[in-house]
């Protein structure tokens, strides 16, 4: 077993363990911190796969953006030190059964399927290659989705402002 294999198994265990803790803990702030560790573990797996740009984006957007946003919303909406109410046991059991059945079914399907690899030359996903492909307008380029995403982000920005404004003007 090589060192890189051990690193992969460590990262995978970290991801799964902290994801499980994140969905089962009854303290919401801890759930957010456990989610943070899961996201860092996934970024580590992107590094392990040598997709450094995606790993950097994962850390910047998820760890730096979304988790901070979630923690701020917890501060705004939750009383400190208060635990989440206990869930009904039957709901937990049925959810666990459904999830386990789905997991088993998916894994059986995956292991029965044989994947075919291409023999063509691999492109290394450097930032230069990604940038050129991102703004290419010929076939296979991603200029149009790039522009659509920028419009979506603008719409989300305006939508958030509108949602935040409405209660102030209409509060009776």
């Amino acid at each position: 077993m090589k060192g890189s294999d051990i690193i992969f198994y460590l990262l995978a265990t970290l991801c799964v363990v902290f994801a499980l803790l994140s969905v089962t803990t009854r303290q919401i702030f801890r759930a957010a911190i456990y989610l943070l560790f899961t996201l860092i573990g996934i970024a580590g797996i992107y590094f392990w796969l040598q997709y450094e740009f995606i790993a950097a984006v994962q850390i910047v957007v998820y760890v730096g953006g979304i988790v901070v946003l979630i923690i701020f919303s917890i501060f705004l909406t939750q009383q400190t030190g208060e635990q989440l109410p206990k869930q009904k046991l039957d709901r937990k059991i049925f959810a666990a059964l459904a999830v386990f059945a789905g997991f088993a079914l998916t894994m059986v399907q995956i292991y029965q399927h044989t994947f075919f690899e291409t023999d063509e030359m691999a492109i290394t996903p450097t930032v230069e290659n990604i940038g050129k492909k991102m703004l290419a307008v010929d076939s296979g380029g991603y200029a149009l989705p790039f522009e659509v995403i920028s419009i979506l982000l603008l719409a989300a920005l305006i939508g958030c402002i509108v949602i935040a404004l409405r209660t102030k003007t209409e509060s009776k």
């Binding site: 077993m1 992969f8 799964v16 499980l20 957007v61 919303s73 939750q78 709901r91 959810a95 995956i110």
Partner: protein, 103 residues
């Protein structure tokens, strides 16, 4: 055992179903949002693994992952704006209390 495509698919399936479990059992809107983030991350991991191991001559999986991350960021921002707005009007962010629409 050398980790390959199947190991990463196992990991992403596990993360996906952990997210589904959280989505089914949680009743707090912020924790449900966290479960959705887990599910989206497992999908991203799948795209990257297929790109790396099956089609290394293209970068389509990588671009799908980039766009999913962008959409997830926008989705989280709008969802948290709605959640905070709901907290202002209902004083709770439990889905059981959020059953009435505007009219």
């Amino acid at each position: 055992m050398q980790p390959g495509l199947y190991h990463i698919l196992f990991l992403s399936t596990a993360l996906f179903f952990i997210g589904v479990y959280g989505f089914l059992t949680r009743r707090n809107l912020i924790t449900m949002l966290m479960s959705i983030e887990l599910i989206l991350n497992s999908v991203n991991l799948n795209f990257i693994a297929f790109n790396k191991y099956l089609w290394p001559n293209q970068m389509d999986g990588l671009f799908f992952t980039l766009f999913i991350i962008a959409i997830a960021a926008a989705e989280a921002a709008v969802a948290i704006a709605i959640i905070i707005n709901l907290y202002r009007s209902h004083n709770s962010i439990d889905v059981e209390n959020a059953e009435d629409l505007k009219y």
